[in-house]
Amino acid sequence: MNREEIREVLLEIIADIDEEADFTALDADKPLRDQLELDSMDFLDIVMELRKRYKLQVPEDEYPELATLNSCVNYLEPKLRDL
């Protein structure tokens, strides 16, 4: 997957988790949680969904890598490149 595809997947996962999610004003360099008013429990679901879809394990100490949309893409790019 390339960066754009990863980005698409992430937005799709978030939309799936949260029917109220509104991406129109989303700043890819600002924390997702604040902008989308997500709870830490929702956040865990992004991790769980990545595991379910791509058998990808995100260890707890690497959760901060998933803070913004861009940091997510940076973090996932090497891991999902060959998919």
């Binding site: 799936d16 988790i17 949260d18 029917e19 109220e20 989308l36 008013e37 997500l38 709870d39 429990m41 929702d42 865990l44 679901d45 769980m48 595991r51 379910k52 707890e60």
Partner: protein
């Protein structure tokens, strides 16, 4: 290999919510319940052609879908259910009635604020301070027990007002006698006074169906009339369960929502040596449900959803010294929610504190007679506040602490379970967990969040 990755004991609201989480993320999950229907404390039954709900008066924690941080909406997201497609009716307004004063409240917290200002001059600002303090609390911090009574007294310094505010908060969610844990107070204060009350547009059976269908759509299995007789422990961990029919089902982990006394009983043969009595709550209730024809609606108040009443200025949240204490309780009008249409009938429910030991001591003939007498007493007590309706009742049913124990196995019919809660859901065995009432979150929204958070914490992470 085990038969299941996870067995959940109980298809009440906490068990169903836990099951949806586990199944959604691919855990092979089995829910077992002794009853033939889901819902546990919050179920329903058919009575002479009427569908009667057993638990639901009003669901706490009302929030419109766009308030994303609200517990109710978090709950829907976690279960991947659409909040937009769950039509609800808000309360039209409720009231707390004491001999010398009464206070109205609704889903707009400013109504309570204004009522307090008017009824208790000088207390408006203090209530406001209390609300700020409650908003700043973190009820999930797993801190040592702190007294809610002294916390509130420190802000309000007005015992009559304190007694009034504690009545709904304790009645709708306190397992302890007399006082309440500050964390639990915080949860209930926000749930009832800041957020508010509502009910599903239809009835609880539709909500339960929605949960069961969601669970099954994720691949979960559910079995009714499947009572667990023993939780099998071996080599220091839970191995599975043995059902009443003798069959054994193995699992990698077991989550019990049956309450602590029942869970301890089920694990006792294998060595859980704690005496269950310490975990048996004392607060139980009787409820009288009266069905009336629509034409007699004008005889009673129609402008309230719930009326919490106390005929004394003092409020002692305690197990009574008699079968039932009708001097305080709550009157619920399930048909008085915004937009409820009128049908052929309407109902009135009266809930009063009751003593399990007193009911337990009765012979079966005496039990039937006591139920009749208590129904009459409950109706008469409520008539003082809403007008007389006894003569118009066409059908009536009631339940007692024994009924609650029989259908849900909550020891001594303690609706809110053990006064000691196990906040982290752990037991002496690494793969046996507790969720629901005895983990600590109460009520419909609370018990579901309990199931969710215990699965997230111990079984998905």
């Amino acid at each position: 290999m085990s038969d299941y990755q996870l067995i959940i004991i109980g298809a009440g609201l906490s068990g169903l919510a836990a099951g949806i989480r586990a199944a959604r993320f691919g855990r092979k999950t089995l829910i077992v319940d002794q009853h033939y229907r889901p819902g546990g404390l919050n179920s329903y039954y058919k009575f002479q052609g009427h569908l009667l709900e057993t638990g639901l008066h009003a669901i706490t924690n009302f929030a419109p879908p766009e308030r994303k941080r609200a517990p109710l909406n978090l709950l829907f997201r976690q279960l991947q259910l659409s909040r937009r497609e769950f039509p609800v009716r808000e309360q039209i307004g409720s009231e707390i009635i004491y001999p010398c004063a009464s206070l109205r409240f609704s889903n707009d917290p400013e109504l309570l604020q204004a009522e307090v200002e008017q009824t208790f001059p000088g207390c408006g600002e203090r209530l406001y301070q209390l609300r700020q303090a409650v908003a700043a609390q973190d009820p999930f911090a797993e801190l040592p027990w702190q007294s809610a009574r002294s916390f509130v007294a420190g802000y309000l310094k007005e015992p009559p007002l304190e007694n009034m505010l504690f009545l709904p908060l304790m009645l709708y969610g306190n397992a302890e006698e007399d006082d309440m844990a500050l964390s639990q107070f915080t949860i209930m204060f926000r749930a009832i006074f800041e957020e508010g009350l509502f009910r599903p547009e239809t009835d609880i059976s539709v909500f339960l169906d929605m949960l069961v269908r969601q669970y099954q759509s994720f691949g979960g299995t559910i079995r009714y009339r499947a009572a667990v007789d023993e939780i099998l422990i071996g080599g220091g961990s839970a191995q599975g369960v043995r059902l009443a029919d003798g069959s054994v089902i193995t699992a990698d982990a077991v989550l019990s929502t049956a309450g602590l006394p029942e869970t301890i009983r089920l694990s006792a043969p294998s060595g859980w040596q704690t005496p269950p009595a310490a975990y048996s709550g004392k607060m139980s209730f009787t409820e009288t449900i009266s069905i009336l024809p629509d034409i007699s609606r004008d005889a009673v108040r129609q402008d309230r959803t719930l009326i919490f009443y106390n005929t004394s200025e003092h409020f002692q949240y305690r197990r009574p010294q008699s079968l039932q204490d009708s001097s305080w309780g709550v009157i619920c009008f399930p048909d008085n929610f915004a937009g409820s249409g009128s049908g052929e009938f309407f109902s009135i429910r009266v809930t009063n504190p009751a003593s399990y030991p007193h009911w337990h001591a009765l012979s079966s003939e005496a039990y039937a007679a006591a139920k009749t007498a208590c129904r009459k007493e409950a109706v008469q007590a409520s008539e003082q506040h809403i007008g007389s309706y006894g003569q118009a009742i066409v059908q009536q049913d009631s339940f007692t602490p024994l009924t609650i124990e029989r259908f849900t196995r909550k020891a001594e019919g303690a609706v809110y379970g053990s006064p000691i809660k196990i906040a982290d859901g752990r037991t002496p065995w690494t793969n046996l967990f507790i969720a629901g009432t005895d983990q600590g979150y109460l009520g419909i929204v609370g018990s579901m969040l309990s199931g969710i958070s215990i699965v997230n914490r111990h079984l998905l992470a």
